[in-house]
């Protein structure tokens, strides 16, 4: 059963090699790989929900000497989201890239990115995590630069430099850990780590590097241009999954590995940065003229909510209340993943059909591209956090936690952010409902329109009405 952990990264990697060697069949191969990997992820989800955390010692070497893979509730849920989002985006991409040359360039990098994501989510070894981070960063940059325009290349270059800086900081922290504790295995470290300059510096360096990669305000400057100038399916995955991978690592380090030596003050710092991200990101999203930039800035804001959970989680004693809050954090992250991916895919369709993504010229989209507009509306509902989206449950937990721990101020930030989100989403929908129509083709390819609908639907209906298992899964091995 634990072989699934291997296949989760081995399948996409094999697919990458295959698509590279057989460019003619690349699209077919990639879609097959996507389906197979998703199936494996589903199997894993099932297994973990049945028998709790799974782990695998690569090469049969005991963790420490060798590298161990681990899949607990948290990583499994993220793996599942990754699989579904990448699968949908792959279907979309098969229709999105018209030229064979483009497809041949795209698929191997795409599957390498997936490999990196899965490897990162599974890895239980600090240095291995560094390698996965680099693989993730490089593949993401290569994909982001596929746009080929000046803006895209420039953004990709900045993205790369920032990413490298982040990984170097992370590596410095890792080196300190090995120097001090003689191990790289996360679970071993969790037991041996003790407060002191060593642990502090290591955690600080690793966290700083990861915050740079997950674009937490004020380290977000690189994100909007990079996410807004990439091809639609790439933007979808960058915004939905790649930044989340780095966030996932912060969560692991703070809540699992270094939990014992964390002070509320440190968590409050993260909270303040998160709050700033919410307000600033939402504000910029409201002011921007282009739909893709809007989506990118909203990512900056949404990540802020995730970090707002830290001061609340660390102020709570272990127990059902804390588990509920953690579940809220996870379901918020998942909802954003699905919603934002769907949103970017939908925007890609609008961009292709209308030839632009200027918000003030979208009038009549609701008539010309009803399905796509509906997808945007659904995604918007999730971003605002309105019921029945999973984000509603997440924000409920967030507000509840803030009240329970007496941190009222965060509530104001959450409400302000949500209202700003409503403002920028309905600014778009307002234009879409406008009846000043432009003479443009209304032909749409189902293969392009469905993925966006399915993803945003999952975010709103799926996670909103059937989200309870998330808590069970997290609880099963907490």
């Amino acid at each position: 059963m634990s072989d699934t952990l291997i296949w989760l990264f081995a399948l996409p990697l094999t697919g990458a090699v295959a698509t590279l060697l057989l460019p003619r069949q690349a699209t077919a191969l990639a879609n097959v790989t996507a389906v197979a990997t998703t199936a494996v992820a589903a199997t894993l989800l099932h297994a973990v929900s049945r028998q709790g955390t799974l782990s695998y010692e690569i090469g049969g070497w005991s963790a420490g000497l060798g590298i161990a893979l681990r899949a607990d509730g948290l990583s499994t849920l993220l793996l599942m989201m990754t699989a579904l989002v990448v699968l949908a985006s792959s279907v979309y991409a098969s229709a999105y890239f018209s030229k064979a040359a483009e497809r041949a360039r795209f698929w191997p990098l795409w599957l390498l990115l997936w490999t990196a994501l899965n490897a990162l989510l599974l890895s239980g070894d600090l240095f291995n995590l560094y390698v996965t981070l680099e693989l993730l960063g490089l593949s993401a940059v290569a994909l982001a630069s596929l746009g080929g325009k000046l803006a895209a290349v420039q953004a990709a270059l900045r993205y790369l430099l920032v990413g490298l800086l982040g990984s170097m900081m992370f590596l410095a922290g890792v080196s300190l850990v090995y120097a001090g504790y003689g191990t790289l295995d996360l679970s071993t470290l969790a037991h041996t780590v003790e407060a002191g300059p060593l642990a502090w510096t290591a955690l600080a360096l690793m966290t700083a590097g990861l915050l740079l990669k997950t674009a937490l305000f004020p380290l977000h400057f690189w994100l909007p241009p990079a996410h807004a100038s990439a091809p639609a399916p790439v933007s979808a995955v960058l915004s939905a999954l790649v930044v989340k991978a780095a966030f996932y690592l912060v969560l692991r380090l703070w809540l699992d590995v270094f939990a014992d030596l964390l002070t509320p003050a440190a968590a409050r710092l993260l909270g303040v940065m998160g709050a700033a991200a919410i307000l600033w990101g939402s504000w910029r999203a409201l002011r921007t003229e282009r739909l893709k930039l809007l989506a990118a800035y909203s990512t900056v804001a949404q990540l802020g909510y995730l970090f707002l959970f830290f001061p609340i989680l660390l102020a709570m004693p272990p127990g059902p209340a804390r588990d509920a809050a953690l579940g809220g954090l996870v379901i918020l992250a998942l909802t954003h993943g699905f919603a934002k991916a769907g949103l970017f895919l939908a925007i890609g369709i609008i961009q292709q059909r209308c030839g632009h993504d200027r918000i003030c010229e979208l009038d009549g989209t609701a008539q010309r591209l009803p399905a796509t507009t509906f997808a945007i509306a659904l995604g918007g509902v999730a971003l605002i956090g309105l019921p029945p989206s999973g984000a509603f449950l997440g924000k409920w937990q967030l507000i509840g936690g803030a009240f329970a721990t007496g941190q009222w101020l965060w509530v104001l930030v959450i409400i302000a952010g949500s209202l700003l989100a409503a403002a920028y989403i309905f600014r778009v929908l307002g234009h879409a409902f406008g009846n000043r129509a432009y003479p443009q083709s209304t032909v749409t390819v189902a293969r392009e329109e469905w993925p966006a609908l399915v993803l945003t639907g999952t975010a709103v209906i799926g996670l909103g009405l059937a989200g309870a298992p998330v808590w069970q899964l997290l609880g099963s091995n907490a």
Partner: protein, 363 residues
Amino acid sequence: MTTSAMLILDILMVLSLLSLAAAALATSDARRSVILFMAFGLVLALAWARLQAPDVALAEAAIGAGLSGALLLAAVGDQPRRALTGDTKPVHHHDHSNLKLMLEWTVTLLCIAVAGALAWALAQAFERAPQATLAQAVSENLATSGVSNPVTAVLLNFRAYDTLLELAVLLTAVLGIFALGPARPGYRTAGPVFGGLVRWLVPVLILAAAYLLWVGAHAPGGAFQAGATLAAAGVVLRLAGQRTVGLPQGPTLHLVIAAGVGTFLLVGLSLLVLGRPFLGYPPAWAGGLILLIETAAMLAIAATLVLAFLGGRPQPPRVNVTGGKPPAASISTLRPRSREGLSGADVPGAESHKHFSEENRQC
């Protein structure tokens, strides 16, 4: 050698390291700073040799200093300065200069703080001097690892998974480079003297690579050092004006650059299918499998590094223009690609839309 002499050596080494690093980062002239960086790398290699890390020293000399240097120099060669100014900065420095000064100071202080924290942490680490490091574990399991060089054992057996992903990183890099456009136009074909030099230098390098690969099992060396040496041969050929530097074209080229990852996966997964753990070599076969993987890895690494040096897929002869052309040449070759870019702005309908944009400027 006496400890005091050793100490003096150490101090000299450390000082030169610091001064070279500082100098490399201080000079504003690109070419100079690259050369200083390479020098820094070489001294670093010496320092590591002194710290009994010969494998790493070799790799640093060959890759860290050698090939990175070559890449950077090539970049300096075809980049007009302003390109390297390429706005990659979050903060805009020009005009208001006192803001710039403030920023510089804050960053400098931050870096000092980082250095301090690092040193402090490191000091504590050395005190704790973790006894239960993996060193013992490695030496205990070395016998069954299939090789006698502990570093190779860690790289290709105990932590083989890291190496697999690392090869994936190399693959990603070269694919990314391919996606960005064709290789630089070749250099002037070598004169008789250099030509003669090349004629015996290249075989030597290839032999050296083979030797490093073979010796890696029990002595310093291995796939990476070997791959780097092989790449060096490619670089030499390239400098001699050899356009394709003996690399295959088309599908075969893909086969080569994917060889490392492919072989690794093949071995790992077949073991899994045969009921062993992923990458869990049977002790009897370990040596052979590792050599197999290392050979494939070497080829892939060499190819990747050379392609990185070329700056892309080597062009079929007709495109190439002999004679070192100014960047304009490489740009002209890029033009068509930038047209078929993927960004939404050049999808059908973009033109037909243009005339609407005017009347809607309000809002």
